[in-house]
């Protein structure tokens, strides 16, 4: 068995890899974009593109952990808004406090929001979709209450606050450094620590997890708390990146985050999906949105294109699974 495997051609091995299709899609996209808008490829514009999408990356990583537990969190857009508003308001009122406090505060508020979801889903066994639908309403409402309907504009932001997103280190803005750090930590966490692997375990088989002594509630709680914390971080960085804030930020971001996860090959039924896939999904989404924004008159197309891409990605995924099944059947057939 093993010998035949090593004999397979490199191409076959690559096509067997889950990420191969994704990478191919990304390359095609990049080439297409280059043909239509050559101006897209300058170092600056690429950095710009990534910077404007970085928040989606953070959300997608959080969302991914929740989806891996066979759940879903649609409150992250509201969490992002709540943390953004709280941080902005406190920052504007206390400009002299060191800015690092705000990033910690954002993580804390986000984690609290996520923990609340985690309690509902993990301990009270609510359906994730419904629980987070409820908290989505609630968080967005709190966000408005705290903002008092107010907007914050660039002149109200302290320099230290803005630096968390825009300070260039080696020519790359800090928001991207943070994103890379989060990606790295996620790879480490989900691949190499027992808590991270437990997230996969309960997603793949809950009954086995119980027998193996894995406390399902705790794992769900952890995943949702982390997801909330990342959304909180995203909220703070969003406001720092754009230097504006109101309670309405982040509306619909949960959908984009879910879309990135799906593009990245995370299975909605839980247990399957890798961080590298999500990173590729994130890059694809970034290229698409940026590409669309570059072409005049195309910006109205963005929603429709995103939707169509998700449907195509899921359909492709299903097709690939089916053909793999058919191959397996054929192999079995030879034995009869």
């Amino acid at each position: 068995m093993r010998t035949t495997e090593s004999n397979k051609s490199i191409l076959a091995k690559m096509t067997g890899n889950r990420n191969f299709g994704l990478l191919l899609g990304l390359v095609v996209l990049l080439i297409l974009a280059a043909i239509i808008t050559p101006s897209m490829y300058s170092v600056n514009s690429i950095i710009n593109m990534l910077q404007n999408n970085a928040v989606y990356g953070l959300l997608a990583i959080g969302e991914m952990m929740v989806i891996l537990t066979a759940g879903i969190d649609i409150s992250i857009g509201a969490t992002l808004s709540l943390t953004g508003v709280v941080c902005c308001r406190l920052m504007a009122e206390n400009p002299n406090v060191p800015a690092v406090l705000w990033i910690l505060l954002a993580l804390l508020i986000g984690a609290l929001c996520g923990a609340f979801n985690g309690i509902l889903v993990g301990y009270f066994k609510m359906v994730p979709m419904i629980a987070t639908l409820g908290t989505m309403y609630a968080f967005r409402g709190f966000s408005f209450l705290f903002s008092g309907g107010q907007w914050w504009f660039p002149h109200q932001f302290t320099e230290g606050y803005l630096k968390f997103a825009t300070l260039r280190i080696l020519g790359i803005p800090s928001i991207l450094w943070i994103l890379v750090l989060v990606f790295a930590l996620a790879i480490l966490f989900l691949g190499y620590t027992s808590r991270g692997r437990r997230i996969y375990a309960i997603g793949t088989n809950r009954e086995s997890s119980q027998v193996a002594g894995i406390k399902e509630e705790r794992v769900v709680f952890l995943a949702m708390t982390l997801c909330g914390a990342l959304a909180g971080l995203g909220g703070m960085l969003y406001t720092a990146n754009y230097a504006t804030c109101s309670y309405s930020i982040g509306e619909g971001y949960e959908m984009t985050a879910i879309a990135i996860c799906i593009l990245g090959g995370v299975s909605i039924s839980g247990g399957k999906g890798k961080v590298d896939g999500v990173i590729i999904g994130f890059l694809m989404m970034a290229v698409i949105t940026y590409f669309i924004s570059l072409l005049p008159g195309l910006s109205v197309w963005s929603d429709a294109i995103q939707g169509a891409i998700i449907i195509a990605a899921v359909a492709l995924n299903i097709y690939m699974e089916r053909s793999a099944e058919r191959r397996a059947l054929k192999e079995r057939s030879a034995l009869i």
């Binding site: 879903i72 509902l120 009270f124 066994k125 609510m126 359906v127 979709m129 419904i130 629980a131 639908l133 409820g134 908290t135 989505m136 309403y137 609630a138 968080f139 967005r140 409402g141 709190f142 966000s143 408005f144 209450l145 309907g149 309670y247 509306e251 959908m255 879910i258 879309a259 799906i262 909605i268 039924s269 109205v300 197309w301 963005s302 929603d303 429709a304 294109i305 995103q306 939707g307 169509a308 998700i310 449907i311 899921v314 359909a315 299903i318």
Partner: protein, 424 residues
């Protein structure tokens, strides 16, 4: 088990349904709870804003304010009944509105516009249904994507324009009262009755229950699961088309691409509040119908009480969460919490305490009877009561001691376990 061998001789069992209508059960059913909530909100409103409540047109206005979402709610009941979900309904509704609007703007007769709108909705629904039922994609994902897609198409076609030509009856539907009853409510109740018939009386409704509870079994029972799913999604789409009438009318006969966001969540929230389980197979049409009214009264009442729209969102959110949590709070859960908190998870202690409590209760009852007994003289009474009191005290003491001993033992065991497993 032992009787089954003599199967031929055993008597025929009576399998008739014995329990008929049960009033006390009916009164605590979820639908009735919703009715109580509705009454409660009305009372609050009546007390807080007496003048307004009794002034003309207030109730009608409240009801009208909540009716634009009602066709979506009805359609969503069926979708949730299957265990699926459709978050594209708001986009679909806008899409249907746009089709009607474009038809009317181009000078087509009103009925063609309306028909085209409903057809467009149904087609969108059919697309969702095909992806879910025949391709086998998860409903959440498909409808998230199509909600972007449908609204995206509206954005492409309308850009920032607003469509303003709509049949005049649109606004009639949303704003006119007939004999003091809002027309929209009448229409809603008629549609509700149709849905009640379909779900609770017809064969199609039964199929939905079977599929929602166990799709595999439905397939083995000769039910065409995929076709049924497709039909339900098409129906949902058509309801989106109908919702566009209510919605556009409510908006005063205009539509743009950014309108109606969040309606899908409201519709789902109302269904869940109405007792329809998102896991499928559970719930009735009555619940969401009442819940639609509750939602209307609630948002309006909060508005009158000077709670702003966004704070109302908080209330909506928590109501949703609580509505799902309440049915889970039952005797079993309370007993479990008590077991964990008071008896430290020791079932022996729990059983002992329960037993003692029962015995004490019996003794107390006996005591009360003696007190009432007029045949006995006072001194006898006091003597007997004292005897009972002593008995109760001794029972409780014994129970306490035993519990303490057992808990001590358990603690000791646990300590040993900790030590043992810490070393290894």
């Amino acid at each position: 088990m032992s009787g089954e061998k003599n199967i031929k001789t055993s008597p025929v069992r009576d399998l008739e349904i014995k329990q008929g209508f049960n009033l006390s059960k009916f009164l605590v059913s979820w639908e009735m709870v919703l009715v109580y909530i509705l009454i409660l909100i009305n009372i609050v409103l009546m007390v807080k804003k007496t003048n307004l409540y009794f002034s003309q047109g207030t109730i009608q206005a409240i009801i009208q304010s909540g009716m634009d979402v009602c066709p979506l709610v009805l359609g969503m009941i069926f979708i949730l009944m299957l265990g699926d979900i459709d978050v594209s309904v708001a986009s679909n509704m806008i899409f249907a509105s746009m089709v009607t609007g474009l038809c009317c703007a181009s000078g087509a007769p009103a009925f063609i516009g309306v028909f085209a709108g409903i057809l467009a909705g149904a087609l969108c629904g059919a697309f969702n249904g095909y992806c879910v039922a025949y391709i086998g994609m998860p409903a959440v994902i498909v409808t998230i994507a199509t909600s972007m897609l449908f609204r995206g198409i509206v954005k492409i076609i309308l850009d920032v324009n607003v469509l303003k030509v709509f049949p005049s009856f649109y606004t009639t539907v949303a704003w006119v009262n007939i004999a003091g009853i809002p027309l929209s409510l009448i229409l809603f109740l008629i549609m509700g009755a149709v849905f009640v018939f379909i779900l609770h009386k017809s064969r199609f409704g039964r199929k939905l229950y079977v599929i929602g509870n166990n799709a595999t079994c439905a397939q083995y029972s000769g039910i065409d699961v995929r076709k049924t799913k497709l039909i339900v999604f098409i129906l949902m789409g058509a309801m989106c088309g109908i919702a566009s009438i209510f919605f556009v009318g409510r908006m005063g006969g205009s539509v743009s691409s950014t309108m109606g966001t969040g309606y899908e969540m409201t519709a789902i929230a109302i269904c869940v509040l109405g007792g329809v389980s998102t896991n499928g197979g559970k719930g009735k049409v009555y619940g969401p119908v009442i819940a639609t009214l509750i939602m209307a009264f609630l948002t309006y009442t909060l508005g009158l009480l000077e709670v702003d729209a966004n704070s109302r969102k908080i209330v909506t959110g928590f109501i949703l969460i609580i509505a799902v949590l309440i049915p889970n709070v039952n005797r079993q859960l309370i007993a479990n919490i008590k077991l964990k908190a008071i008896y430290k998870g020791n079932k022996n202690v729990e059983a002992l305490n329960n037993r003692t409590a029962e015995e004490v209760k019996a003794l107390k009852n006996a005591m009360a009877e003696i007190k009432k007994d007029t045949a006995l003289n006072e001194s006898d009474k006091t003597a007997k009561i004292k005897k009972y009191k002593d008995k109760i005290a001794s029972l409780q003491k014994k129970c306490k001691e035993q519990s303490a001993a057992w808990l001590q033992e358990q603690k000791e065991d646990e300590r040993k376990a900790r030590e043992r497993f810490a070393v290894k």
